[in-house]
Each structure stands twice: as structure tokens, then as C-alpha cells.
């Protein structure tokens, strides 16, 4: 499980069922992530420290950077790394929510992504979900403090790169798994004066100058299907 805040996986949950009947966990791999113990009792249960995630993600980016020749290829690699996570997160959240219905409408699945998926992965809902004015098939999910680029300073010679390509891969995985094929890209957009009033969640760091905008472009069949459902 590669995402932050992912509480004991289904595998661990099943294991816990057996373990609670028998002796304590034998190895560290059997224990749930975060503080173990009764479910939901501790505030830090299921949480991974931001520093641990930042170091791991930093290594992931460096690993790929040493193997690619261009910025777009690096972004594509990060996206494919997140894609698998997206598929699994969708299954996990659907299982946990225990809803018998699945989302079939475009707006609903986008709401699902920007609230439930974000909350499960990052502990907070996405800051806004917008529809593009120029293109009917483009939507934007905005996050003012993306977890993947909290400590990242992109050098000037890699100007266009967004370190949040991993998250756009996650979104693409979730949408694809739900049946909405889409191309998702991450962009860093300058925050305008007075646009974001909240204090930064990481103490000691200055307020971020850029926000992450995830541009979701659905494929034509998905839009046609959604229009047909509308009628």
C-alpha cells in the first residue's frame, strides 16, 4: 500500500481477525500501520508521518529521474506509479463504504474523488472542484497544499515539472477503475494574492506560492454516455 494515511489494508484486517483470537503478532509485518490496538481508539491510528512519506517519495522521484531523458517521461513514470494505487484505493474505499450502488454519473464520481479519496489519502478534502469554461470535457481539482510536494523545490531547468504527477496518476487510476477513462495531468499554478487565507499546515514553512491543479480530461465516450444518461 503506497499511500499516506492508508489504514490497515484488507489483508491486515483479515489477519487481525485471526490474531485477536490467538497470540500477539509475531513480526512487525503483522502489526497494523500506525499505533495498533482497538480500531479508532487512537488519534494517530492509521497515520503515517509526513516526513517518512516525504523521504520515501523523494527516493521514488530520484529513482525515476535517473532513468529518464525528459521531463514528460518523468511525469509519465510518476503517473503510472500512482495508477496502481488509484485502482486499489477505489476498491478499498468501495469495500469500506459498503454502499451497494456505484457511481455512474460524472459529477458524482468527481465528487467522490475530491472528497472521499482525498480524505482517505491525505486526511482532508480537496480544496475545490471546478469545471473548465473553455472545454466541456475538462474539470479541475485544486489542492492548495499537496502532500507530495510539501518539501519539493523544483529547480529552474525543470520548470514545467510538477512533483504531484503521482497524485494525478492516483486520480486517473480511480477514474479508470470506476469506468470513466480520463487523462489527468498535474500543474503548478501561482496562488493569487488573498486567494488562500489559511495558515500552512506544516509549521515553520512559509505559505506555499503555488497550488496544485489536477486537470481531468475525460474521453469522448464517457461524455457521450453521461449525456445519454442525462436524458
Amino acid at each position: 500500500c503506497g499511500s499516506k494515511g492508508c489504514s490497515p489494508t484488507t489483508h491486515n484486517a483479515v489477519k487481525n481477525l485471526f490474531l485477536s483470537m490467538s497470540r500477539p503478532p509475531a513480526s512487525i509485518l503483522d502489526r497494523p500501520v500506525g499505533r495498533g490496538g482497538a480500531r479508532g481508539s487512537s488519534a494517530t491510528e492509521g497515520y503515517v508521518s509526513l516526513s517518512a512519506f516525504a523521504y520515501l517519495y523523494s527516493e521514488l522521484v530520484q529513482y525515476h529521474q535517473s532513468r529518464v531523458a525528459s521531463i514528460s517521461e518523468l511525469e509519465r513514470r510518476l503517473e503510472s506509479a500512482g495508477y496502481g494505487v488509484g485502482l486499489k484505493v477505489l476498491e478499498l474505499l468501495a469495500y469500506r463504504a459498503r454502499e451497494s450502488k456505484r457511481e455512474t454519473r460524472l459529477m458524482n464520481i468527481l465528487q467522490f474523488v475530491s472528497s472521499s479519496v482525498w480524505k482517505a489519502l491525505f486526511g482532508k478534502a480537496a480544496d475545490s472542484l471546478e469545471r473548465s469554461i473553455d472545454h466541456a470535457d475538462e474539470f479541475m481539482i485544486v489542492d492548495y497544499e499537496p502532500v507530495t510536494s510539501t518539501y519539493v523545490s523544483v529547480p529552474a531547468d525543470l520548470g514545467q515539472l510538477s512533483a504531484d504527477a503521482y497524485v494525478s496518476g492516483i486520480i486517473a487510476g480511480v477514474l479508470e477503475g470506476a469506468g470513466f477513462t480520463a487523462r489527468v495531468t498535474a500543474h503548478s499554478v501561482r496562488v493569487e494574492e488573498g486567494e488562500y487565507a489559511k495558515a500552512p499546515s506544516t509549521p515553520g514553512l512559509p505559505a506555499r506560492k503555488d497550488k496544485a491543479v489536477f486537470l481531468v480530461k475525460f474521453s469522448r465516450e464517457v461524455l457521450a454516455r453521461d449525456a445519454a444518461l442525462e436524458r
Binding site: 523523494s58 530520484q62 529521474q65 518539501y151 519539493v152 523545490s153 523544483v154 529547480p155 515553520g204
Partner: protein, 191 residues
């Protein structure tokens, strides 16, 4: 004033033997006049030396910091590194088993001169954070520790930063500036 500050420092350092270089000048025209503390609260420069002695970062922290050219900076960095190493050897008593609570080896911790106080924090990995300030600036140790935290956050967690290379992380410089601004503001308010 300055004398009290020196005596206080001497008392604090008595229990831990350190090599200290004192370059105080006693000429009356070179002593800093008794201005209110806000005027004396001036950080001058920050520089960071990696474990092989190369300078990886330098930054002016205040308006009164003199301008120093890049080559001069490189020389200052490597000179300080060598002096730090020599000072550890020259210390009359060596701490057994490295009992220093900061975890770093012996070496120069503070240099006090007529118009300048230089404070150094060496980490376990050999990186040295050095800050210079006008005499009477409080909280130099605290500021150094905070800068170390910022280094661990903004530089080490940045995938585009190579270890031991010059720090080019924008986030680090912004955070250092914000920190100095915050310290000067709270310092000015307390007085």
C-alpha cells in the same frame, strides 16, 4: 553591555572545555555604543559548510550584512572548516566518548570579536551551520537549531537536491528568510 555578555558566555562555557579564539579589540573607538537592543539585534550572515569543507550555502540575513564576493565566501568556508578541525585537536581536554549533548564532535562553537559574534552548530553528519550576528543578538543557538530543522525539511526531503552539493532549494531560502523575520519581530516585541 558587551562585557556582561562576555562574562556570561565565559561562565557558561567553563564546564565544557572548548578552543575559543578571542579577537576582541579594546580600542574605545571600536566598541559598539550603547544603542537600544533593537538596534543591536542584527543577524549578518549564514553559511553552511559540508563535511568535506566545501561551502554549500551562504546568505545575507540583514541589511547591515557586508557584501562578500563568491570566491571570498568559498575561502571563508574552507578556512572555517580547517580551523574547526584544528580547534578540536587543540582543545586541552577531550570529552571522553563524545559526551556533547548535541552529538557533534569538539570544535569551534562560538567566536566573539569586537563587532561580531560567530556561532557554529555542527551536526552528527559533519555539516556545519555558521551564523554571524552583531553582538547582543539573543537566541543564536535557537536560530541555528531552527535552521538545521529547515535544512532537514526543505533540502533533505527535496528530490532535486543532491547531498553535499550547493543548496539551490527555493523553499529553504524562503523558509530561512521567514524564520529570521519572525525572530527579529518577536525579539523586538520583547524589549
Amino acid at each position: 553591555g558587551q562585557d556582561d555578555c562576555k562574562q556570561q558566555v565565559a561562565i557558561n562555557r567553563l564546564s565544557r572545555p572548548r578552543a575559543r579564539r578571542q579577537a576582541r579589540s579594546n580600542r574605545p573607538d571600536q566598541r559598539i555604543p550603547d544603542l537600544p537592543e533593537t538596534a543591536n539585534m542584527g543577524f549578518l550572515h549564514l553559511f553552511i559548510v559540508n563535511k568535506s569543507g566545501g561551502l554549500i550555502h551562504h546568505r545575507p540575513l540583514g541589511a547591515r550584512a557586508p557584501r562578500i564576493g563568491t570566491n571570498e565566501w568559498l575561502r571563508i568556508g574552507s578556512t572555517f572548516h580547517s580551523l574547526h578541525a584544528i580547534a578540536a585537536e587543540a582543545s586541552p581536554v577531550r570529552l571522553l566518548g563524545n559526551k556533547n549533548s548535541d552529538g557533534a564532535d569538539d570544535g569551534i562553537e562560538q567566536i566573539e570579536a569586537g563587532g561580531l559574534v560567530l556561532s557554529c552548530l555542527q551536526t552528527r553528519t559533519g555539516v556545519k551551520f555558521v551564523i554571524t550576528a552583531e553582538p547582543g543578538t539573543p537566541d543564536l543557538d535557537m536560530v541555528l537549531k531552527e535552521i538545521y530543522v529547515l535544512y532537514a525539511d526543505c533540502a533533505l526531503k527535496d528530490p532535486f537536491y543532491e547531498l553535499e552539493m550547493p543548496i539551490r532549494c527555493e523553499l529553504f531560502t524562503q523558509a530561512v528568510d521567514a524564520l529570521i523575520e519572525r525572530v527579529e519581530k518577536t525579539g523586538a516585541r520583547l524589549r
